[in-house]
Amino acid sequence: MAKKILIVDDDPDLVEAVSTILESKGYEVAAAYGGVEGLEKAKTESPDLIVLDVMMPDKDGYVVCKELKADPKYRSIPILLLTAVVSKLSVTRYTQQMGMETEADDYVDKPVEPEELVRRIETLLSK
């Protein structure tokens, strides 16, 4: 059975792009367009992995991540955080902060190379 991936991002274009990439690799895709909806779907859709945007107006990715990881029922769902930090100066800073401040399983900069995204997801799913 195809693995199900939940994409949470307030930008519909990005959701579509990521969906297209994942669907091309045979994944089943569910989409949520905000933090609150994402949290809800994480519980109702029981995805195998969540691709989670950080900056969302209603509830940001850190909070969604924290809430899911605090719940024993959903703690095991791997979360791949999507950040929008591109400046080289900030990249290393972010890797540090991300590692320290969130319990996300991995993170990737937005925009992401399709190959890179797929590789990261495969790694997380095989753990």
Binding site: A17, S24, L89, R93
Partner: protein
């Protein structure tokens, strides 16, 4: 007589006029004469200040001496007029004196009598002039003082900064409306009161006491921030000293910082807004381009691939620019160096080298890292220094063709830790070297055309290094390579 004075003689008798001219002329006086009243008045009218003394015959045909007297005094009230009375009657002399004549001399008179009476009149004129001058001067300086006082008062009252002055006992002697507003006090109720009664803030009271009775006489000014209600006030308290160093009182200048905090908050919000609203669409554009390039939206021709690749590079450049601008604004706002700690720079550089390894390998550039001897710790901001070396090493890789080498060497140098990042890249033309640390400056040439950059990187690097009290310099030879040298002061 000594001094030259103009004396007007009004008499219808030529003998008197000539006599006066002769006698007074010898004394150095300039004598002018008039043969009748009308002529005399005209002479006075011409310039009343010019004439020191008037000798006036009372009995003349035409206009009488009394009329001339009235006219003359109307023109110049302090003009001494000596009347010459031909028939020596006390009555007419007394009448003239009543009307304001200064003195009289009976006809006939001797030269000595004339000299005596004219001298006295001249003296009187001189004293009166002096008195008038002093009076005017006093009036003027009184006015100056009043003007100065009111000017200073107006300046103080109009100032946006608060001013609070105390005497040496710590009693409030002056406040302005801004101080009242910031401290929540009223000028009229706190004057002459001790500071602790007038002002509630303990830190301020302490500062005033501190400069009034300094434990260390070197301490002349105390600057601090006061939290009063919702406002943040910066207060500078200084002693007012006399010429011989005695403390006479204190002046506190208060600056309302609340609006700055507000500005800072707004700036933070703006940055957050920009980072989301500006980055997101560009990210989406790039994400979609990647998708198409990957063939996930159908077959892509070679030409399309080329064009899309360029488009993607440009959008990547735009994203980097947005990122750098945000970084810049943080540094400008002084946020860059909030977390200074003792650290080993070589650990940071090593980590950066590890992170850059993949990029270098992909490009076929060799990375080398060397530390010559143990390095002292540096007081710095870890994240920012990481940024500095990520930028320098990243640049070196970016501008070095495949097969080249990027070398990082670290060594202690006096009170500094020296880090040299050198490459065997395309180099920087001599004429561009002085400007490479400028914001938005990029070397434009055939060789750099294919390399995407924002032109902000090195200016950020320089700001960070300088915020650490360090320095950065560059040497380069076109076609051979570039080397950047960063000096960071050791922790003291």
């Amino acid at each position: 007589m000594g001094e030259v004075g103009k004396i007007l003689v009004i008499d219808d008798e030529a003998v008197i006029r000539d006599g006066c001219r002769r006698i007074l002329g010898k004394e150095g006086c300039e004598v002018i004469t008039a043969a009748n009243g009308e002529e005399g008045v005209k002479a006075i009218q011409k310039d009343p200040q010019e004439i020191e003394v008037v000798l006036l015959d009372l009995k003349m045909p035409g206009m009488s001496g009394m009329d001339v007297l009235e006219h003359a005094l109307a023109l110049e009230p302090s003009l001494p007029i000596v009347v010459i009375t031909g028939y020596a009657t006390v009555d007419s002399a007394v009448e003239a004196m009543k009307k304001g004549a200064y003195d009289f001399i009976p006809k006939p008179f001797t030269p000595d009598q004339l000299r005596l009476v004219v001298n006295r009149a001249l003296e009187k004129r001189k004293l009166e002039r002096e008195a008038e001058r002093l009076k005017a001067q006093a009036a003027r300086s009184l006015k100056d003082v009043a003007t100065e006082k009111s000017k200073v008062r107006t300046i103080i009252n109009c100032m946006a900064d608060g001013v609070l002055v105390t005497d040496r006992e710590g009693k409030v002697v002056l406040t302005n409306p801004a101080a009242g507003r910031m401290l929540g006090i009223r000028a009229d109720t706190c004057l002459e009161k001790p500071l602790y009664e007038a002002v509630g803030d303990e830190k301020l009271i302490e500062a005033v006491q501190g400069v009034l009775k300094p434990e260390n006489p070197e301490v002349a000014t105390i600057s601090q921030e006061l939290q009063i209600g919702d406002s943040l006030i910066r207060a500078h308290t200084a002693a007012v000293k006399s010429e011989d160093g005695e403390v006479l009182g204190t002046v506190t200048v208060l600056e309302d910082m609340t609006y700055l905090l507000e500005l800072d908050r707004m700036k933070g919000e703006f940055i957050a807004m920009v980072s989301h609203e500006l980055r997101s669409p560009v990210s989406a554009i790039e994400q979609n381009i990647s998708l198409i390039l990957e063939g996930l939206a159908g077959e892509v021709t070679e030409k399309q691939r080329h064009l899309l690749s360029r488009a993607k590079e440009r959008s990547r450049g735009l994203l980097e620019l947005i990122g750098d601008l945000l970084e810049m604004s943080k540094i400008d706002a002084g946020m860059a160096l909030q977390r200074k700690e003792p650290l080993q720079v070589e650990e940071i550089v090593e980590k950066v080298m590890e992170l850059m390894e993949a990029e270098a390998q992909a490009k076929g550039v060799a990375l080398q890292f060397k530390i010559t001897s143990p390095l002292p710790p540096v007081l710095g901001d870890r994240d920012n220094l990481e940024g500095v070396f990520t930028n320098l090493v990243g640049n070196a890789i970016k501008y070095t063709p495949s097969g080249g080498e990027v070398k990082v060497e670290m060594s202690p140098e006096g009170d500094y830790v020296k880090t040299v990042v050198s490459d065997t890249g395309i180099g920087i033309p001599k004429e561009d070297l002085p400007r490479i640390f400028d914001k938005f400056y990029r070397v434009k040439s055939e060789k750099t055309r294919g390399i995407v950059g924002t032109g902000l990187g090195l200016s950020i690097v320089k700001s960070i290094v300088e915020a650490h009290l360090g320095s950065i310099s560059v040497e380069s030879e076109e076609g051979k390579g570039t080397s950047f040298c960063v000096l960071l002061p050791r922790q003291t």
